[in-house]
Assembly symmetry: C2
Homo-oligomer: 327 residues x 2
Amino acid sequence: METANKKGTLISYRPDIKILDATMRDGGLVNNFRFSDEFVKDLYKANIEAGVDYMEFGYKASTDIFKEEDFGKWKFCKEDDIRAIVGDNSTNLKIAVMSDVGRTDYKRDIIDRKDSVIDMIRTATYIHQIPTAIEMIEDAKEKGYETTVNIMAISKVNEEDLNNGLELLCKSGVDCIYLVDSFGAFYPEQISKLSDKYLELGAKYNKTIGIHAHNNQQLAFANTIEALTHGVSLLDATVSGMGRGAGNCFMESLLGFLKNPKYNLTPVMDFVEKHILKMKAEGVVWGYDIPYLLTGVMNAHPSSAIQFLKEGRTDYSKYQQELIDEN
Amino acid sequence: METANKKGTLISYRPDIKILDATMRDGGLVNNFRFSDEFVKDLYKANIEAGVDYMEFGYKASTDIFKEEDFGKWKFCKEDDIRAIVGDNSTNLKIAVMSDVGRTDYKRDIIDRKDSVIDMIRTATYIHQIPTAIEMIEDAKEKGYETTVNIMAISKVNEEDLNNGLELLCKSGVDCIYLVDSFGAFYPEQISKLSDKYLELGAKYNKTIGIHAHNNQQLAFANTIEALTHGVSLLDATVSGMGRGAGNCFMESLLGFLKNPKYNLTPVMDFVEKHILKMKAEGVVWGYDIPYLLTGVMNAHPSSAIQFLKEGRTDYSKYQQELIDEN
């Protein structure tokens, strides 16, 4: 039976499942991290009331590499900026930030956890950067943080390299390894097999497994629940799916699905009513559209689709031919 | 292994799989069947070029029950109106119409197939109407048509009644029985089990099985491909998901997924560029939104969500409470 290796039922809940709100980090890629303080404060409150477990505030990018005036402050997530929102964060909601390999001065900018309001450092790496990612993970671990790692763009990685990369990470101090569908290219039956692969290694090395999905084919939620039924336990979502290109798994869908009594959809809907509808009316654009479907189907980076839409183009067939030429 | 009962692979194709375009029928519920002739002609051409197998033109509703001036002509699908678009339809695209139990004067309005350009009569029934549906199916069968049946709203039907209804239909002359998720309430793992149930009975009685999904939880495409990997073979989709409320499985997604060389996404994208973008700009509204998520999660008819959006309301939390009171 197909259900043999499913964990839990549609009526019960698994206490090991945790939700991470990535709205400001992946959504920040849509608006260059220019969120108003009111948006951030209200999102923080909504996440607390909704029972969300982690809130990712943005990237910990190096100001030596990126000019501060080119971005909103959540590209850099300085300690004082986070504290201006959360104070000492005496809540159950944990605070996460993302460090990109090669874009973060982690030795300088990530301070000891005892001096920080941040709880979790999430390292994002491509397959060929894993040794550097491990140095960053070990640094964060030594400083006292919970750690996760995203291996990005694995739909373009061959299986042997992926296995070897996973083995290396499993032998590191990282707490959680993320299954990431950067290009929204995977179908649920592929997520099913990948989840089993990640979970099997995770069980051997005592790592939890997370999932971060993209909505190019309107499969972000489907892939997230496929992964969780196999045992994946750290689930990324964003409010109204806000995220680069086609965006992510909708927080609303995930909260509607999960049965843990601590989760509550209402504050997130109130946040959508107050902030997301306004943001969309002001012309901030993300979410499923044909160009993203095409990059998803072709397992390509969404950058050219983002450009296509920014230019106001609608000649989908011509774009499809351009994509075929470039891939 | 979970893949044990999967039919086919992601790289191969199954020649038994056929696509039905339900844009004008389910989409007609959005705009009261008021499609321009140019829209219908272009959709007909696009479907032919895309390799779509069936095109559903609308309902065969009785003009004794519904006033003709209240609807566009595709509510009634008169022979002459279809012929004005397709002539004698000397193409590989077959033509379907839907008959609702209790709303169609099938004895009068469905003529012999030899005199008609229609190929397939689709009967839509609630569980308690199945005996009447069977009379309609046998009538259509005798007149020479391919026949399908949709048992609607099965997410509200208990398992014993569903089993008994399916047995009755299996013993009728119907060619294909549809698994229908009227309220967009099912998750893929439920579709998986239901597909196996329908397919097992179908195999015993030599019926093919179809799927008609709704996108309340952004799962219409995921549920459609879940069903097809189990062996379901007649797949409903609509252009850009056009259909009542949250709409249906996107034709674009389905054509992007299927590997049969006869299918071609390009003409459908060209149709979207020419007609759907315009229709949306003119204010015709369908597709995923929070109120539809709520009716999906609560397994409720989308009518109150349609009303909520029509009134321009955005107080999602209050609506959620109203739904809880009413269900």
